[in-house]
């Protein structure tokens, strides 16, 4: 993060700003202030740990360490503003750099005047918002699964207990029967948040009814979808919610051993879960006699080893047993014969994180959110070309438009909305015309997409849909376990066709072949990976057929992304001859005198896109569909 010009700077000396500057914020409660720095993955990538260290240092330097605490929190949600820091008076600072911290400490924490220059600025109105509750992104959300994520220090069980953590588990274990718990979960109408949307209550009652004393409970934290990070954020931000959900689930179904299966690619989640389990064991919240109710339950952590297919429940079980993670036929379902051949219940991280809230607030409170058969809320990770990228939880039944434009703030850089990709490699791409679709399992399935785990990637007009479909298919092709032939070979053949189309060698009938293969794959595979693998291709063909046709018939990539079909040229009108592109060009194919328009030698251009990205005047352009590009650059 060496040269990162992403601080909220710029002219903001208006009246509102002056007003905000005069606001004095009183320290909360006992006069102590607390600064929490987000240590979610995205913020860490943006350098939040250095910001945290800077806060600790500056607070000490300013002599405030007796009345200011500095702590870390899990993902606060608004990842695109990372690194984020939030003060206990609700002031929100975004895009902090270690060198800005001194200003915050001295002006805000010492003198009580918030630094308005570093606060969040609404991209639409330009208004500065101090209190994070007032930021549109947060205001539009309903946080149930994420209730403590970004609020508590995930490594401190005290903070969790202070916020009412483990109270629901205590209630269930000491006052209620397992049947009551199952009934409560069934009545709440919550469905599996991992993607399939199977009723959690039904699943639990099946597992509870299975005969045998030895049962297992597995928490599925193998969140493999590229572009999805809700489960990671929950495990990193509020690991105790997952543990509490597991305790309640174990009581309901009668399991004494639990496993949390986490991707090894989430080292932070692993670290914090390990600490949470140890803390809970120390306090008797896990162990042989939980809450003195005589309930015995232990949790073990299992690390995945990087296989997407292990998110499928039977593959996950095989992986825990130490085999290749390959799915098997069902029935028998894991509820009857799962881990080590014993009845096993598998729930997703987010599902389990919802359970304590449901038990504490009652099934009706949860069921009051949502529509029809989909009750409650769902967390989504908003990513891609979106203004407010991050973690958002909205009630089921909200429209896509609400989530993308009201919560997400619309498309970045003022570009045009083209499509939204839902549900990762198993999901589909929906165009602007379907933005009014409500988010629930049935409505989305009707469009060809799925709710899936909740990954939502927004793409703008610069993204080629053929390329996007190819990206997902390439992923599923690599991650196919190889057991079912249609999945193993069919995806390979589809990939070859898409590669051909992208290379400009598309043939008449390729689209039909793709559709045909897609149906064979969907029908002829055991697990959901194969069954849904063709979805990205099918939906892009359905909604963006003209793009496929442009590639095949006109040898043109409308979005200007497919390398074989594009050429770069410099617009002589816009070029000021600043020589920046020529300096940055790794192959040295840009020629031109200072203050004279430059020209790209297209025969040796490797199309690395560097020149277009460094040009400050937008003079480097991409042209597609013109076969004689020499004439385009021109000897201007």
């Amino acid at each position: 993060m060496s040269d990162e010009p992403t601080v909220n700077e710029g002219p903001d000396g208006g009246e509102q700003a002056a007003e905000a500057r005069n606001v004095k914020v009183a320290p909360a409660g006992d006069g102590r202030l607390k600064v929490t720095v987000c240590a979610g993955t995205a913020c860490v990538f943006a350098g939040s740990l250095a910001v945290h260290d800077a806060f600790v240092e500056e607070v000490k330097a300013a002599g405030l360490d007796d009345r200011v605490d500095v702590a870390i929190i899990g993902c606060h949600g608004l990842c695109s503003q990372g690194p984020v820091a939030v003060c206990s008076d609700d002031t929100f600072y975004g895009r902090l750099k270690p060198e800005n911290v001194k200003k915050v400490v001295e002006e805000h924490l010492r003198d009580g005047v918030p630094v308005e220059k570093l606060m969040y600025k609404d991209p639409a109105t330009g208004e500065v918002v101090r209190d994070w509750h007032e930021i549109g992104f947060y205001k539009q959300q309903t946080r149930i699964a994420l209730r403590n994520v970004g609020v508590i220090d995930p490594e401190s069980i005290e903070e969790c207990l202070a916020r009412g953590g483990y109270e629901a588990a205590r209630l269930a274990l000491t006052e209620k029967t397992p049947e009551w718990v199952v009934q409560c979960v069934t009545d709440s109408g919550i469905r599996g948040r991992g993607g399939a949307g199977f009723s959690t209550g039904t699943k639990w009652s099946l597992a509870a009814q299975s005969p045998g004393d030895e049962k297992y409970l597995i928490c599925n934290g193998d969140e493999g979808d590229p572009g999805a990070f809700m489960d990671a954020s929950i495990m990193e931000g509020d690991p105790h919610a997952v543990l509490e959900g597991m305790i309640i689930a174990s009581y309901a179904i009668g399991a004494h051993e639990g496993y949390i299966y986490v991707r090894a690619e989430y080292p932070n989640a692993v670290k914090r879960l390990t600490k949470a389990i140890a803390d809970a064991e120390e306090r008797g919240l896990l162990g042989d006699d939980i809450f003195g109710a005589g309930w015995r339950f232990r949790v073990h952590l299992k690390l995945g080893a990087g296989a997407f297919v292990c998110g499928e429940e039977t593959a996950l079980i095989a992986s825990i047993e130490g085999f290749r993670g390959m799915p098997r036929t069902r029935p028998p379902y894991p509820a009857v014969s799962g881990l080590w051949g014993k009845p096993t219940n598998i729930n997703n991280v987010e599902t389990l994180a919802n359970i304590p809230w449901i038990v504490a607030h009652g099934a009706e409170a949860y069921a009051s959110y949502g529509i029809d058969k989909c009750r409650g809320t769902k967390a989504f990770s908003l990513a891609g070309k979106i203004v407010n990228g991050g973690l958002a939880e909205v009630p089921m039944g909200s429209t896509l438009r609400h989530l993308i434009f009201n919560v997400g703030g619309g498309v970045k850089d003022g570009r045009e909305f083209k499509a939204v990709q839902l549900g990762g490699p198993s999901g589909g791409c929906l165009p602007a015309s379907l933005l009014e679709t409500t988010i629930d399992y049935e409505s989305l399935a009707a469009t060809g997409a799925i709710v899936g785990s909740g990954g939502m990637v927004v793409v703008d007009d610069q993204t080629c849909m053929v390329d996007l479909a190819r990206f997902f298919l390439d992923f599923t092709q690599k991650e196919s376990c190889g057991k079912c032939v249609p999945c193993r070979l069919g995806t390979k053949r589809m990939l070859e066709i898409l590669d051909r189309i992208r290379a400009g060698d598309g043939r008449e009938g390729d689209i039909q072949t793709l559709e045909e293969l897609a149906h064979y794959i969907a029908d002829g595979t055991l697990c959901a990976l194969g069954g849904t693998a063709p979805n990205p291709v099918l939906t892009t063909i359905k909604y963006f057929r003209e793009e496929y046709e442009a590639h095949i018939n006109e040898r043109r990539c409308p979005a200007g992304r497919c390398k074989a079909l594009i050429t770069y040229y410099i617009d002589p009108e816009a070029c000021t001859g600043c020589t920046l592109c020529a300096k940055k060009c790794p192959t040295g194919v840009i020629a031109g005198e200072r203050k004279q328009p430059h020209v790209i030698d297209v025969t040796n251009c490797i199309k690395c896109d560097t020149c277009r990205q460094v040009c400050k005047f937008g003079a480097v352009k991409v042209r597609s569909g013109i076969q004689t590009p020499a004439a385009v650059g021109g000897e201007a």
Binding site: P226, G227, G304, A305, K385, G389, V459, L526, I606
Partner: protein
Amino acid sequence: MLGMFKAMRTTLRHLPMKKITVQYPEERPRLPERSRGLFRVVIDPASGEPRCRACTLCETNCPVQVIRVNYTSKYQLTAPNVARVATRRVEVQPGIDLKKLQPVLDDYHEHGTGLIAVLQNAQAVYGYLPRAALQEVSLQTGVSLSQIYGVSSFYNQFRLSPIGKRLIDVCHGTACHVAGAQQITEALEEELGVADGKTTKDMEFTLGSVACMGACSQAPVMRIGDQTYGNLTPDKTRKVIRDLMEQVGAKKG
């Protein structure tokens, strides 16, 4: 005459017995719904030994998982074989210190961690999974080497060849892809002179890609060792890697 009586006797003897032939294809035997016949191990006529080498491939690939290969009883390594493995171990990978593996295996014996955890810990010791280590795991756990190989080649995390001192992971999640992760990888390929997934000759850098790191809002991102980089452009990437190469004195290729 005598022959005819003999034949008649056979016929009469079989007459009251239950018929075992059926009029195929009009009549078909009633087999269990999913029966596909019985398995049989083919014996090699030349040596008299079974041809099956207990590679467990059929076990792995059977869609209904009805095959269990039980190799331990029959193919347990005898003493001379252990010696052969030892010599071969030295031949194959002379530089591998197996003593470092012992704590991992002790942990396995003590706590019963699964095979995957053993392999993960072994990889943490060596940086990759050397063949000698896999053989040692096989000897001490009783899991066949072919099965261990099957598991270690299935999961992306396991590496069967050594990697460079610094592992460069470029994120290729959806958000990063849309933001141009491919261009980042290409820039790195150019600067390092190696293809994606390969290691530079001086063993300084290994260029790799991962599916998603969950830092989508900072896309495109990459990780070099413990250091993370967000909001990359090809140009910025080149600068980072050039600085790093200069720092360690690495050469291209």
